[in-house]
């Protein structure tokens, strides 16, 4: 009917405007993922002279028995879990400070973002240098400033310390990101709520528990969601900082995938690894999404 011509014209333009974006996204996201699913049912590596030979689930079977895969999954989980917790606590603290009014707040805020903005690969170099076993400034500080250790610690040489160092580096890099998101959430909480609560006789701590936390929950979840995804796929930091060593103690799934494809030319298995990681990720995101909606309704948004 003629009534709709305006709307129709509008929508035609609309599609024209969206189309390029959709195409690019399909090319760069849809194809690789789809491709990975297919390829994961083939064996394509040096022993097949790089021909794709359908071998059903063999890649997945092999994965089950692949100690390196499991240790990389384990490493990734540890890495992700620990850094997320630390970031949440630190980020919250920073956000709370930055939310207060004090002279020079603008400057501090600016400075606080810097870590997030810097290139991970380069920062990884910096950390490698800082944690260096013999010339590392970190050792020097612990030794000569705080006297916490007698012997220089070989941070990147020792499996545990290497993981600790990597986590430290990652926390340093991304805490500011968390802080920013939380800060935004904090500022979205109307001041009157605190004032009302104060008039009711609440201490700052009580206000934090009864108002800040519940109302901030959505942002907290969102921040954690983003960070989870990023941490779970972390690559550049580790390949530069530890290369996954020592003894694969800091090898994450992403590094294993990269080696499998680029070093061993084991494409089929690589694809299988991609698929599994992908599924894990989607699963977690789905769960988080569920909690997010719950938190949103709980905190009174609609």
């Amino acid at each position: 009917m003629t009534q709709d011509t305006i709307r129709a014209r509008e929508q035609r333009t609309g599609w024209l405007l969206v189309l390029p974006a959709i195409l690019v996204l399909l090319l760069v996201y849809a194809y690789p993922i789809g491709r990975a699913f297919v390829l994961s049912f083939f064996t394509e590596n040096l022993s097949t002279n790089l021909e794709a030979v359908p071998t059903g689930f063999s890649n997945y079977v092999r994965m089950v028995l692949d100690g390196r895969f499991w240790s990389s999954i384990w490493n990734t989980t540890i890495f992700t879990a620990v850094s997320l917790c630390l970031e949440l606590v630190l980020g919250m603290a920073i956000a709370l400070v930055l939310d207060q009014a004090f002279r020079g707040r603008g400057l501090v805020r600016t400075v606080a973002i810097i870590p997030w903005a810097l290139p991970t690969a380069l920062i990884a170099l910096a950390w490698r240098w800082i944690f260096n076993g013999e010339f590392g400034v970190w050792n020097d500080m612990l030794l000569n400033w705080f006297h916490l250790i007698e012997q220089p610690v070989n941070w990147l040489g020792d499996p545990t310390w290497a993981m600790v160092s990597a986590i430290a580096a990652d926390v340093w890099k991304t805490t500011s990101f968390v802080a920013i998101l939380l800060l935004a959430g904090l500022q979205a909480i109307p001041q009157e709520l605190y004032e009302a609560h104060e008039v009711d006789g609440a201490s700052p701590l009580q206000s934090f528990r009864h108002i800040t936390l519940p109302l901030l929950m959505p942002q907290i979840i969102i921040a954690m969601l983003f960070r989870f995804a990023q941490a779970f796929g972390i690559f550049d930091l580790l390949i530069v900082m530890t290369g996954g060593g020592p003894g694969g103690a800091t090898e994450m799934v992403s590094l294993y995938i990269y080696d499998t494809v680029m070093r061993y030319l084991d494409f089929g298995y690589g694809a299988a690894l991609v698929v599994v990681t992908f599924l894990i990720l989607i699963g977690v995101v789905a769960i988080a999404g569920f909690f997010l909606t719950r938190a949103r309704t709980a905190s009174g948004e609609l």
Partner: protein, 358 residues
């Protein structure tokens, strides 16, 4: 016997921004004081200082004659209703009302009782487990009120509690408010920039302007005896006509007509005449003084017409007159006003000139 007072209150943000200059007020048990004034005149600031949310630059806040200036808001036993209601979005109505009491460590039973009492007044019973997001403006307003009532505070502070409601609803809630607060005795300080609210609700009105109290008086006197030009223009709608007139002898000259000044004061060279539109009427034979004019705009207000008139002999002065809707008139119109309804102000000081017997 609770009461609240502020002594020589001053709040200076910057040398330019001084929302409160040197304010002293006192509200006794059972009194309802309204702070009214244009936006930015320092109403909220004053209220927030009393609540303890802001620290005064100088001066004291007294509750029950105790100096509480250094006390935390929570320790002053006051209740405050915010313009935005400030309901906790993640708590349902019941929790919202209970939170203040819980903080005091009150037992659940007593809390329930108090909330019940409040609801007898406010009728929120069937909303208790709703989240604020699912409440209408009026309901939220009532919850906010309830949250204040259950605290049984020494003082109630309200900052423009009605300004987020639409016209019709506001009229009703206004009446409710009046009844609710007539039922209890704790002093109330109420901030608004709507003069109708000020007039209808209060036992005492303080008109604020530029950080100073312009007049502190009963609603009636504010309306009938505005202390200065500002109060006169701010209170009353449609606005009072304020005309600056030259004087000849003891008569003020309005266009072609003369208006005799009250004989009690020495005739100044110039004087400001204030007369409310509703106090001007079409002259009937024998009326004095007479003002002739030409109608150039008529606005129908339903029960009456707001007629704008160019005064003959000084075309740039316009009189706005409120005429009953059953009356008729023609373009050329002759008006009169009863002398006792006229207000005279000093041109320079803008202060009211002394009244009869004063």
């Amino acid at each position: 016997m609770s009461n609240v007072a502020v002594k020589n209150l001053n709040k200076t943000y910057t040398a330019k921004v001084v929302p409160v200059r040197d304010t002293s007020l006192r509200v006794e048990e059972g009194e309802f004081l309204t702070l009214v004034g244009p936006s930015g005149c320092g109403k909220s600031t004053t209220l927030r200082i009393i609540a303890g949310l802001e620290q005064p630059t100088r001066g004291q806040v007294l509750i029950n004659d105790k100096d509480v200036t250094a006390l935390r808001p929570g320790d002053r036993n006051i209740a405050m209703v915010f313009q935005s209601y400030a309901l906790y979005p993640h708590m349902n109505v019941y929790e919202n009302m209970a939170s203040g009491l819980k903080l005091k460590g009150m037992g659940d039973v007593e809390i329930r009782d108090r909330i019940k009492d409040a609801n007898d007044v406010l009728g929120l019973d069937d909303l208790l487990d709703r989240k604020p997001a699912n409440l209408s403006g009026g309901q939220r307003q009532r919850v906010a009120l309830g949250r204040a009532l259950v605290r049984r505070p020494d003082v109630f502070l309200l900052d423009e509690p009605l300004s987020n409601l639409d016209a019709l609803l506001r009229e009703q809630v206004r009446a409710d408010l009046k009844q609710i607060f007539e039922r209890q005795s704790a002093p109330v300080i109420y901030v608004t920039h709507d003069q109708t609210e000020a007039m209808t609700l209060s036992t005492k009105v303080a008109v604020l302007h530029k950080g100073d109290v312009q007049q502190l008086d009963s609603p009636e006197r504010i309306y009938t005896r505005p202390a200065n030009k500002f109060v006169a223009s701010f209170i009353g709608s449609p606005q009072m006509n304020l005309l600056t007139l030259p004087c000849e002898g003891n008569q003020a000259v309005l266009g072609s007509s003369r208006i005799t000044l009250p004989d009690r004061f020495v005739p100044p060279p110039e004087v400001v005449l204030g007369v409310r539109p509703e106090h001007i009427r079409i002259a009937s034979p024998g009326d004095q003084p007479l003002v002739k004019g030409t109608v150039f705009l008529v606005e129908n207000l339903g029960m009456s017409y707001l007629v704008s008139v160019h005064v003959d002999g000084s075309e740039d002065t316009t009189l706005r007159v409120l005429l009953p809707s059953d009356q008729t008139w023609d373009q050329q119109i002759t008006l009169t006003m009863s002398p006792e309804k006229l207000h005279w102000f000093n041109v320079q000081t803008e202060e009211r000139l002394p009244d009869h017997g004063a």
